[in-house]
Every structure is written in C-alpha cells, then in structure tokens.
Amino acid sequence: MIKLEARPQPSKLMSIASPLLALAVTVVIGVLLFMMLGKDPVRGLQMFFVEPVKNLYQISELSIKATPLILIALGLAVCYRSNVWNIGAEGQFVVGALAAGWVAMQAGPDTAWMGKGIVVLVLLAGVLGGMFWAGIVALLRDRFNANEILVSLMLVYVAEMVLSYLVYGPWKDPQGYNFPQTITFLADTRIPRLVPNLRAHIGVIIAVVAVGLFWLFLFRTYRGFALQVGGLAPAAARYAGFSSRSALWTALLISGGMAGLAGGLEAAGPLGQLSPYVPAGYGFAAIIVAYVGRLHPVGIIFSGLLMSMFYIGGELAQSRMGLPKSLTGVFQGLLLFTLLAADTLIHYRVRWQRAAPAVKAA
C-alpha cells in the first residue's frame, strides 16, 4: 500500500525534477499513442523534439510560437501566485489584438512621420486592450464578488464573437474578395524582425526582458511579495495589511496587459492582419506553460519552449506523417495532468507500507 507522508520542508530537488518526470510520462504515453495509430514512434518523437530545433529557420519559427506563450504565462504566473484564477487570457489576447489591429489600421500618410515608431503605439494599444478586458473581470469580482474563473472564461467567447463580427462586418477589407479579414497592415506598423530572412521578431527580446522584470517583481519587490502571500495564506495577507483588492486588480491588469501585448505582437507580427485565425489557443496553452514552468519566470522560459515544440511538432507530424494536429492538444493536456500528479512529490514522500492485518477483538 502506498502511503503519502508530509515532508517538513518542500523538496527543492523535486521542484525541478517534477516537470521532467511529467514530461517523461507524457512522452511514454505519446509513444504508446503513436504505436496505436500505427506510426513509427521514434519518428514521431523526432517530429516533436528534434525537428523544431534542427536549424536556425526552425528555431526562429519556434521563437515565434514561444514568445506569446512566455509573455502570457508570465502574467498568469503572477495571477496564479496571487490565487486569482484568470482563465480568460485567450480573450484578453484577442482584445489586445483587436486594439493593436485598430491602431495599425489607422496608419497612413498622416502617420508616416512616426515611421517605425508607430509600432510602439500598436503594442501599447494591445496592452491596454488586454488590460481593459481583464479589468472587466476585476471589476465584477471586486464589486459583485463574481467568480473570476467563470467570468473571464465567458468573456473569451464574447471576445471571439466580437472579433468575428468585426472581421465579417465593419472591418472587412473591401479589396479582400469577401474573405473575413482586415486589410493587411502597412509595413511601418509591422513588428520589426530580428534578422532579415527569418520570421523571428523583436517580440523575442521583449519576452527575455520581461522574464527579467517579472523575476525582479516577484522576488525582490514588496509588492510582489504581498501578492504571493495573498495567494499562499489570505489570512496572513490580511494580518500583514496587504490589500486583497489591490492584489486582485494588480494581478488581473498585469496578466491582461501581457496577454494583450502578446495579441498585439501576433496581430502586427506573423499575422499582419486580423482574421478569425487570431485566437490560436495561446491563452489556454499559456496556462499549462505557467504551471509546468513552476509559476517561475525562468522555468517559464523552458516550459514555453517545450510547449512551442509541441505546437511545431504537431504541425510537422501532421504534414509529414499524417498524424492529426489535435495530438498537440492531447500532449499539452496530458503534460499538465501528469505535472500536477508529480508535484505531490514536492510536498510528500512516498512510502511503501505493508497493510496491517486487522484483528478483531476475541
């Protein structure tokens, strides 16, 4: 019989080993899935773990996926550490993209004097858009005590509907052959690339800087400390005088802003226009990235790269091996699931106990 015994101190070793353990289990299940589908498991694993980092081009593609994941996950990490459950990052991403897209669409001869500087406005709009959408969640929780999980989630559906309305209706490109998409944004508004021939853009740099800033915020500022105490022990936070209200708003605005920033980068970057393809599930995948990264900025870099590999691997597996793309979703969900299970080892030791035979009174 397996018994769980509480550790007096959380195990630092397991903190790092647990995501690796979860990954290992996921890989094993993946191999089984490949075999069940009659595909070569080694080749399958190759698609997911080797191909995406094979050359500079692939790494650049990887970074394009990793950037929004990492940015959103950083914001979510702050949220979840504060015990604020923002599940609607996808919606905040969409609204960020909408706001950024709107600014980008205003570009024209009048704004030519700004040159590339307009990108700053575009991204700022993205941040504000995401903050606004998350702000609704904060307001409803603050004033009406409405559960932020459900409200933020419902707002995802609403955001997608608003996007759909706009690209099928008022924002549709008149020269677009009636496809539901906006105009392609002008070159000035597009996110600058890092290197001429690759698609990787400055979002990568923004993400790296963000990791540093978030680390400082969480572990070296009093505000960051206060947020985390609120998440770990609400009564202690009240005792210390930390306002749960300001924690709520801070967490939601930060995560909304980051999701909106990611949305802006995506819309004005790889997509170059608004269309029904804006919501790519990054908001939900980022939840997994945040968790697998231990809600820690540095861990999130690794888990963000890992999840991007799942995305790219899924696409490659589809195009080269005929495997369904939804495999990506399966792996992502499995990873989070196994991670949660493996995490118990951080706080508990596993002990094997022989079941004591029960002897009734004579």
């Binding site: 419902m154 609403v158 979703g329």
Partner: protein
C-alpha cells in the same frame, strides 16, 4: 402561439443538457470538490456517445458510453485531487484542456458522420392537448428522466441519511473523518457520479440535441453548468430552473436569428455567455448569502492524517 410552444419545447431540450451537467456538478460540490473539468468531460463523452450511436444505432447505449467516459475522466481527476491533494482548480482545468484535445483527436473520423433522423417521441394523449402538448409532451424521454433525476437528487440530499452524510462531508471533512466516515471514498463516489452525469449530458448533446460531432461542440456549456451551481445556491430544484432559463436564452437567440432580427448574428450568439455573466453578478452580490449556503469545504484540500 405555435411557434411559442415550439420555443418552449426547444427550451426544455436545451435545458436538459445543462440540467444534467449541473446536477452532476452539484453532487460534486456538495461533497466539497469543485470540478472545473466539466467542459472536458462533456466533450469526451459527446464523442464517445456519438461514436457509440454511429456504431450501434442505440441511443441508450450512447448515453451509457457517455456516462462511462465522464466517470472515467472524473476518476482520474478524483485520484489527483482526493488522494494526491492537488489543487482542485488547476486539476480541473487540466482535465478540460486534456478533454478538449483528446476529444478532437478521437473525433477526427466522425466529423462527417451522421446518425440519421431522430425519432419523434410523444406522450400518448397528453401530447395532443393544444399548446401544452407540443410544448411539454413531445420530448425525448431523457428530458423527463432528467426531471425525475433532479427530484431524486433532492430527495437524496435532504431526506436520506446518505445524503446527510454527503452534506456533512462537504461541510467539514475533518469532522466526518473524526466520526469514522470514509471521507475520501465518499468524495470519490460523488466525483465519479458527477462525472457520469456530465457524461450523459455530453452524450445527449451529440446524439439528441444536435446529432453530429464537431470539435469543441460543447461550446462552453460545461462552464455555464458550473455557473449554474452557484446560481442555484447548491439546491437541486434551482438547478432545473436555471438550466431551463439558460436553455431559453439559447433558444431565444436562434429564434431571433430565425425571425430575421436586425442584430448581427454574433451578438445573438453571445447571449448565453453574457447571460451567464449577468447571472453570476446578480447572485454573487450578497457574499454572506453565498457563504452561508456554500458547502464550507468547497475547493479546500483534505488531509486525513491531521
């Protein structure tokens, strides 16, 4: 009048999905466990049910398959949150994300499949009463079973000793444990039963409500069902009321679109989701009222050793 009767009938149809899922989640939450995996469970159950219906042509087997799918997923969730004491919110989310991916994966072969015209059901004699007949008595048997189920759960919770034990566990698992009740097993049973009901809801959705399979077809009904438990302040009868209300809102949207109302279709499609937000805001305003009615241990981990 006729179209209004049909609207009512459609409301009951739509509400049944929510009611089944809602009552399943209510049982969960009465035991103190919040299962955010409802959406994922319903998705997997939907494809399981649909696939069974395609394969066997038998609706009831399909519902059974859905129930089994839901119960199995709930069991995995239960193992995590009850025995390993993982965070309930994160684990439920993981279940939903996994369910979304897994159902899409499994359902690939079924996207174009059809399961034929659904047979029309009508209660003899009652179905012929003008207005009331078409409104109430031309439903799939599952609609009536759902009402009976809700009544049964109400009786169970408030009139049976087992229900009292369940409520006690939900309020204070520590005290129940001190009294010698197998708290974890009771919670696991509640979780699996709740999962089975969400499963039936998912199967009903793909086999009766809209007989087809499309990726993500549950479209948030699992989340709405979660909102329902708060709206109903954890009372079975109000789950039914809330479910039909939401069903009505959903049907209203189609009705208005059908009438050619001058509102863009996307805004009408938003109705159920916005309605959910509005309902949550209205019901949550009184925090003390919620606290007094919510199972006190909801969402909190339970450690038998302490």
């Amino acid at each position: 009048m006729d179209s209004f009767a049909l609207l009512l009938a459609a409301t009951f149809n739509a509400g049944t999905v929510l009611a089944l899922a809602g009552i399943g989640l209510l049982i969960n939450e009465r035991a103190g466990i919040i299962n955010l995996g409802a959406e994922g469970m319903m998705l997997v159950a939907a494809i399981a049910g649909f696939a069974t219906a395609v394969g066997t042509g038998n609706d009831w087997l399909a519902f059974g398959a859905g129930a089994v799918a839901g119960a199995l997923m709930a069991a995995a969730f239960g193992l995590l949150v009850i025995w390993l004491n993982t965070n309930q919110v994160a684990s439920g989310l993981a279940l939903s994300l996994f369910g979304a991916g897994f159902s899409a994966f499994v359902g690939i072969g079924f996207v174009q499949a059809k399961i034929g015209e659904r047979t029309q059901y009508a209660v003899p004699v009652l179905a012929d009463i003008p207005f009331i007949g078409p409104a109430f008595f031309r439903q799939h048997p599952m609609v009536y079973i759902t009402v009976l189920l809700v009544a049964g759960v109400a009786w169970f919770l408030y009139r049976s000793r087992a229900g009292l034990v369940l409520r006690a566990v939900g309020e204070s698992p520590e005290s129940a444990h001190a009294l010698g009740y197998p708290v974890r097993r009771i919670r696991m049973a509640a979780v699996m039963l709740g999962g089975a009901m969400c499963g039936v809801a998912g199967a009903y959705l793909s086999v009766v409500y809209t007989p087809l399979w499309v990726e993500g077809m549950v479209a948030g009904k699992g989340w709405i069902a979660l909102a329902l438990t708060t709206f109903a302040t954890w009372r079975p009868a109000r789950i039914l009321l809330g479910a039909y209300l939401f069903g009505g809102v959903t049907m209203l949207q189609f009705h208005l679109q059908g009438q050619g109302v001058e509102i863009p279709s996307q805004f009408l499609s938003m109705l159920p989701y916005v309605a959910t937000i509005v309902v949550l805001v209205l019901i949550s305003r009184n925090a003390a009222w919620i606290k007094a009615n919510m199972p006190a241990s909801l969402g909190k981990p339970f450690f038998p050793g302490s």
